[in-house]
């Protein structure tokens, strides 16, 4: 589990150190740099995989950009020649890179200026500027070194976690299965593709484990009594509707029993976003470090509170330890966060007076929680008391 992130000179972030928990919620005004924090991890993930180019960035949900946009640029700030990124896990294993790409005549791929990998006790890769002619400066050494590392080494786990990292931004058309996902992944694509297959897997896992996850999930959708994945839905879908191989099929609670089935194409979009998040957090094939940009989109405030309150439990239920980073704009998200649990963390992201992205972990004091009934976090956010609001 990654405990610490350090970001230097990336987009609006000149210098940022973050102590992560299991569930990490980032709130802030539009344009303060919440997504930049996620993208910095995406760049580090690409580096951990051995190559930082547009293809590797797109694969991780990072918007590709020229060095003049990727490197911080501020009037008061002397731009660094490189981007510096570092992740440290709970055992102390560390992966750190500094990446170069000239502002003028940029290269398609970034070069590794320095690269360090440790397992917490010993250095595995320590490489400065690639002056040696026999090494390709655009290829990361840590990714190659993995073949020599024991599978249970903390360094291996850290690299794998970073390599698997991706930023998910689901959209309704892809969740409905109407358009293909440009970035397919297991268990779901970055835009929500193959949701039906992911839900089928989730259902199978829940049945085999005899847990109540599916019942709990359906409890979040008051109009549906069942959800399955089906291949044959001829009777439910117009021939003009394009579809993926499998389609989600819902059973409506209120419709007549002989005509109560509908597909993801006709279902409310909210349920699709809930299923997407659940599949990502619970599936055994999901990445161990997940980022969801705008987790709250399309969700009713009460539903998003209920969804957020389940995240820590879902991540704990998964077969392998999971971490989630997400951004949100709906204040109701905050009321679902159990901030008494140290693994659930809320970060207010702002721009300081120089325009740099800064963050603050919001820790509830006992005095604040005593006022929570009258002043829930959602209201305090709207009042401006948590920061993370625009001065409009």
């Amino acid at each position: 589990m990654i405990r610490q992130l350090k970001i230097r000179g990336f987009k609006s972030i000149t210098e940022l150190d973050i102590e992560l928990g299991v569930v990490n919620c980032f709130i802030g005004a539009n344009g303060v740099g919440k997504s930049n924090i996620l993208e910095a991890v995406g760049v580090l993930g690409a580096a951990a995989n051995g190559s930082v180019d547009d293809e590797a960035l797109l694969r991780r949900g990072v918007r590709p950009g020229l060095p003049r946009l990727f490197k911080s640029s501020f009037q008061d700030f002397r731009s660094l020649p490189h981007i510096g990124l570092e992740a440290i896990d709970q055992s102390g294993a560390t992966y750190r890179v500094s990446l170069l790409n000239p502002l003028e005549s940029p290269e398609p791929a970034w070069s590794f200026k320095t690269e360090t990998l440790t397992d917490g006790a010993e250095a595995i890769v320590t490489d400065g500027v690639r002056s040696r002619g026999n090494l390709n400066p655009k290829a990361g050494l840590a990714a190659v070194s993995m073949v020599n590392l024991p599978a249970d080494s903390p360094a291996t786990h850290l690299l794998q976690q970073l390599q698997q990292f991706a930023i998910y931004s689901p959209n309704t058309q892809t969740l409905r299965g109407l358009v293909p996902d440009p970035q397919t992944r297991e268990p779901v694509g970055l835009a929500g593709g193959r949701l039906a297959e992911a839900v089928a897997d989730l259902r199978k896992w829940s049945d085999e484990a005899q847990n109540e996850v599916m019942d709990d999930l359906l409890g979040l959708v008051d109009w549906a009594i069942d959800v399955t994945a089906a291949r044959s839905v001829q009777a439910l879908l117009s021939p003009s509707v394009s579809r993926s191989q499998e389609v989600l099929k819902f059973k409506d609670r209120f419709m007549a029993s002989n005509r109560n089935e509908l597909t993801a194409f006709d279902a409310s979009e909210g349920v699709l976003y809930v299923l997407f998040t659940a599949a990502l957090c619970l599936s055994s094939r999901g990445p161990s470090l997940i980022a969801i940009d705008n987790l709250d989109q399309a969700l009713n405030p009460r539903l998003v509170t209920a969804l957020t309150s389940r995240l820590a439990g879902w991540l704990g239920t998964a077969a392998t330890p999971r971490q989630l980073m997400f951004t949100a704009h709906n204040p109701a998200v905050l009321d679902g966060l159990d901030l008494d649990n140290d693994d659930v963390r809320l970060f207010a992201v702002d721009r300081d007076s120089n325009g740099h992205t800064v963050h603050q972990r919001l820790e509830p004091t006992p005095e604040l929680m005593a006022q929570n009934l009258e002043y829930p976090l959602s209201r305090l956010w709207m009042m401006g008391h948590l920061g993370a609001v625009p001065n409009v």
Partner: protein, 121 residues
């Protein structure tokens, strides 16, 4: 790592914010800060702007504080903002033009928390 000062602002309106923001940049330089305007709150316009809005905001603050009002720095809902480094000097509210005195008498305010809020300590 940069550690900006987090400052909450209760003011008459957006113009005051611009002036105070510019002044703070000079006063606090080279330290950076994050200035968050609490009042007027665009999404809660019923308090209104001007000194009347400021007074209503103070009234709301007093309502969640100890009987008779309390210090701003004691308000747990504002714990994410910087605390004055010394006890601010209390000010009389005689000059407040928006019926502050009758309201203060009605609610038995001994001190007006708003006077503390503008002090940079």
């Amino acid at each position: 790592m940069s550690d900006p000062l987090r400052i909450a602002l209760v003011a008459e309106g957006a113009t005051e914010r611009e002036v105070i923001d510019a002044a703070l940049k000079v006063i606090l330089a080279p330290r950076s800060f994050v200035l968050t305007q609490l009042q007027p709150e665009a999404t809660k316009p019923d308090m209104g702007g001007g000194w009347g809005g400021v007074l209503k905001w103070c009234h709301q603050l007093a309502a969640r504080s100890q009987p008779g009002g309390g210090a701003v720095e004691a308000d747990p809902t504002l714990s994410n903002f910087a605390r004055p480094s010394r006890t601010p000097r209390l000010q009389r509210v005689d000059g407040c033009p928006c019926h502050a005195q009758p309201l203060a008498r009605q609610h038995r305010f001994h001190k007006m928390p708003c006077s503390r809020y503008f002090c940079l300590g």
